[in-house]
Each structure stands twice: as C-alpha cells, then as structure tokens.
C-alpha cells in the first residue's frame, strides 16, 4: 500500500519535472496560478472531513478547509483562464484558436 503510493509519488515527480521544464518563460505566471488552482484538489480531503459527522471540531475544521480549497479552485482556474485568454499571436486570435 504505502510502497505503491511511494511509486506514485516518484513517478508523478518525474512527470511534473518533465512537464514543467517544457513550459516557456512566456507562460510562467499562468503556470504558477494553474498549479495553485490544481492544489485546490485538497478539497477532496476537506469534504470528507466536513461531511463525515466526526463531531463539531472535525466538521468545523473541515468546513473552513472546504472554503479555502474552493476559493483556490474557483479563483485559480478563473484567473489562469483570464491570463491565457490574453496571449495572442499577431494574426487574429480566432485564427490561432482555429489551429487547434
């Protein structure tokens, strides 16, 4: 069990390393906000804590956690998209989009 998770961690590290090194400086700011948004995944943990009826303390902690994580997800993806929308080629953005 634990060892398998260790495998996953190591492999994911490799993937992360290889993916990130390919991101051009042009997009480093969106990258930062993107990873921020993705880090909001801790929401899945928070939700369990908030919904598992483990008593007031756990629920409260969970609730706050849910709020924080959701904030990151919503805010993060929105701002990333807002930034990426702004990057345009010389040709009309439509043309650029059409390419893909």
């Amino acid at each position: 069990m634990l060892i398998l998770e260790l495998y996953i961690f190591v492999l994911a590290g490799f993937v992360g390393f290889m993916v990130i090194t390919k991101v051009p400086p042009l997009l480093h700011t969106p990258l930062m906000s993107a990873t921020n948004a993705i880090s909001g995944i801790s929401l899945v943990g928070s939700m369990v804590a908030a919904g598992a009826r483990h008593g007031t303390v756990a629920t409260t902690l969970g609730f706050v956690a849910v709020v924080c994580a959701t904030t990151n997800i919503v805010g993060g993806f929105l701002i990333t998209d807002r930034m990426l929308k702004m990057f345009k080629r010389k040709e009309a953005p439509v043309a650029t989009e059409a390419k893909h």
């Binding site: 994911a12 400086p25 908030a50 902690l61 969970g62 956690a65 993060g76």
Partner: protein, 463 residues
C-alpha cells in the same frame, strides 16, 4: 463499487491535470488544456461526493458556496499587477486547507476514532501539518510584504539563523515524539505552533523583492504538504497533485535564483533585496545625468527605424502597459520596427512582463527572451527602458564587486541611443547605482512611466 467509481474519477482527473499542465508548453493550446484540467477537477469532486464516508452534505454545500463567493472576485477582479501577492494569498489558503485536514484527522483519531495512529500514517500527518502551517504563516508574511502592508526591508537580528535552526530542531523533535507516542496531543499542537512561528521568522529576514522566490519555494512546500495529506488519507490524486505542485514550485524558484545569479542560500539567508527604499536616497548626484524633454524623446522615437522596448517593474507599478502598446503601434505605423525584450526576472515574478503586455494585446511573438534579442542591440536605434533598472545594469557584466555581478542582463547600453523612463534616480530592488543612467548614449525621461508615455504618444502623433 462506489469506491471504485471514486477512484476512477480520481484517475481520470489526474490525467486531465497532467494534460492541462502539459498544454502550457504552447500559448495556443494552453487555454483548452487548462479548461480540461478544470473539468478534471469537477470530475474529482463528483467522485468524492458519492463517497460513503460523507453522511452530511450541508456543511460541504455551505463551504462550496462560500468558497465560490470568495474565489470569484479573486479570480476575476484582481488586477494583473497584483498577481504576486494574489498567488501568495491563495498559497496560504491551500496550505491552511491541508493543515486543517491534518488536524481533523488527528483529532478524530482520538475522539471517537481508533484511539491511535500507526507510525507511518502519523509521520504523514505530521509532515502535512508541519509543512502546512509553516507555509500558511510564511506566505501570509510574503503577501504582507508584497502588498506593502509590512515593511519590505529585511528585518534581521543577531543569531537569527541560530534561532530558526533551533526552532526547526524542536519541531522535528516533537514530530518524532508524535510518531512514537501519537496519543500525546501537546507534542502535536506544539509542533504546529512552532512551525507557524518558523514560517514567520524565516520570511522576516528576506527582502520584499525576493518574495517571489520565497513564494515559489513555499509553493513547493505546499505541494509536499498536499502529497503528505495523500499519504495520510491513502489518496493518490493528492499525492500526484502534490508532486506536480512541488516540482513546479521548486523548478521556478531555482530558475529565479539562477536568473538573479544568486544561490538559494543567499536568497533565503542573505537578507538581501530590501526594495527601492534603502539606496534610493544615497545614489545619483555625483555623476552627470543627461535628462531629455518629452519633445526630443518623441522626435528620436518617431524617426527611429529599430526600437527595442525594455519593460521592468516600474511599468507594472505605473500600470503603463497599455500606453506602451499605443506608442509602439504609432512607431510601427510610421514604419519603425518595435520589439520587446523580456528579461527572465524583470518585474516581480516569472513571466510578469509577458502577462502585462499580453493584457494590453501585444502579440506574444513580439516578445523576445533575453538570449534571442541581446545580439540585436548594436543595430538598434533606440532602446526604450520603461521602469527597468537592475535588469539593464551593466555593472552585472563589468563590476565584480557589484552584488548582482554575473547576473545576465539586457545590453541596453549597446544600443545607439537609450531612453530611460523612471521617476527619479532611485535604485532598483537591488538597491545599487546603475551606470547606464550616466552613459553618454543614455538620456533620462523623468516622471511616472505612464504619464511620460501618454505625453510621448501625443508628441509622436504630432511629429
């Protein structure tokens, strides 16, 4: 059964996240890719909602609603110039979430739970809350300094590093105590408190302008905290996202310190980069400075065949990006060629200038990285420096005694003429003199970048 669905939703989500980050290798694909990632997030959430451990949805619902209400403005209304502090803030949110989940885990284990925690799991939870709380306070400090609520100068006192080292050792000791005897709550909560304190004390001695490096580093800590959460909950998607996050933060902080030609150690313990203030007064005066009138500058630009714009932190402060584009387009209409030279650490975070210029609709194929464009300065008629300072400081090339010696710079001094827009003779974040401003080929156009640019535009129109 339900569990399997949850697990698969997580698997799919992880794949989408990876594909999303992968899409950031090209601006054309990036948007689609990140939308895919957002879909992945949605899938993961739905997958979690069916989890049988969840008995009560009202607090979850409430949290989701409230979070959305807070997140929306943070996403849509924060100006691009405030991005660094924006990122620092959301970092503290993420870390807080991880920490609280860890605490909840620990708490429930001893209140109605199994009554104990296996060493491995305890270690995971320990790292989770340790890194988490450290990141929470640390990134709040960073936010404060970037938002200039807190003083930008490094705050130092004797034996500072010793104290931090001691605290760190203490935290580690408590962590081990927890692993050995999880039931001993004081150790657990004490560890959290110390880590939180450590977060503050570690950031205090770091100058405001170095915050981006700190933020990136904290980002990777936050990632590791998330990964630890994953180990604690046996949740693979948290492990994966944590690893991705960690890698990204780590690589970016490396990249920044490299581009500033400083070691991690120097950034973290160097008490360097106190923002503009300290050196601001000292500098200037002695050496000759050729100031230029808006009219003359406009003439020069109007008849220049090749212009390279060098934006810096000042452009962000002045929010001058739109005025810059206007001026550039005017020059192009008159047949001149305009390129933008982007230094890797211009501004206050990686890619800062790119975002600002993209915002003002400058096509990204006009933005050139330092290495691509440095060769072109000798054939350039006018290098227009807009609120940049350190990234064009020749001392980095010539003066071994300079703190930024060895940092690669944009060779604005090699252009035929160089016009510098800034408010006064204040130094940049490195707080040092800039010989460029005193060079014979350089003329200074004093005043707020935006104001000057607006004037230039009308003058060039007239010319």
């Amino acid at each position: 059964m339900r569990d399997t669905i949850t697990q698969f939703s997580y698997l799919v989500a992880s794949v989408f996240f990876i594909l999303g980050l992968r899409s950031l290798t090209h601006p054309d694909k990036a948007r689609r890719g990140m939308q895919l990632a957002a879909v992945g997030m949605l899938i993961a959430l739905c997958g979690t909602l069916i989890n049988h451990q969840i008995l009560d949805y009202k607090w979850i619902a409430a949290g989701l609603v409230l979070g959305t209400l807070i997140g929306y403005p943070l996403g849509m209304w924060v100006p691009t110039t405030a991005l660094p502090q924006r990122i620092a803030m959301s970092l503290s949110f993420g870390a807080l979430a991880a920490t609280l989940v860890g605490i909840a885990e620990y708490y429930t284990a001893f209140h109605g739970g199994e009554g104990t925690i296996a060493p491995a799991r305890m270690a995971a939870i320990g790292f989770e809350v340790l890194l988490g709380s450290l990141t929470v306070t640390g990134s709040m400090m960073a936010f404060g300094k970037l938002q200039e609520i807190l003083p930008g100068q490094p705050i130092t006192y004797r034996g500072q590093n010793a104290v931090n080292a001691l605290l760190f050792a203490g935290a580690m000791g408590l962590l081990i105590t927890c692993i050995v005897n999880p039931a001993y709550a004081p150790a657990f909560y004490g560890m959290i408190a110390i880590a939180a304190a450590l977060g503050v004390l570690m950031v205090i001695p770091i100058g405001g302008a170095d915050m981006p490096v700190v933020v990136a580093l904290l980002n990777s800590y936050c990632g590791l905290a998330a990964a630890a959460t994953g180990f604690a909950l046996g949740n693979s998607i948290l492990i994966i996202c944590g690893a991705l996050d960690g890698a990204s933060g780590f690589l970016l902080s490396i990249l920044m310190s490299k581009a500033m030609n400083r070691s991690f150690a120097n950034v973290l313990f160097g008490a360097f980069g106190g923002g503009d203030a300290p050196a601001a007064v000292s500098s200037g005066g002695q050496l000759p400075v050729r100031s230029i009138s808006v009219e003359d500058a406009a003439i020069q630009l109007a008849y220049a065949a090749r212009v390279i714009v060098i934006p810096g932190y000042g452009m962000a402060v002045a929010q001058a990006q739109h005025a810059v584009r206007e001026l550039a387009e005017l020059i192009e209409k008159r047949g001149g060629e305009v390129k933008y030279a982007i230094h890797p650490v211009a501004g206050r975070m990686p890619g800062h200038m790119n975002v600002l210029l993209a915002e003002s609709n400058v096509p990204y194929d006009k933005l050139y990285d330092m290495d691509e464009i440095n060769g072109e300065f000798p054939q350039t008629d006018v290098a227009l420096v807009i609120g940049a300072n350190d990234v064009v400081n020749p001392a980095a090339r010539s003066d071994p005694s300079s703190p930024i010696y060895g940092m690669p710079i944009l060779d604005a001094d090699k252009a035929k003429h160089c016009i510098v827009l800034k408010r006064g003779m204040a130094a940049g974040f490195a707080g040092i003199e800039n010989a460029l401003f005193h060079a014979p080929s350089t003329s200074m156009l004093f005043g707020d970048a935006k104001a000057s640019l607006v004037k230039l535009v009308s003058e060039v129109k007239a010319a």
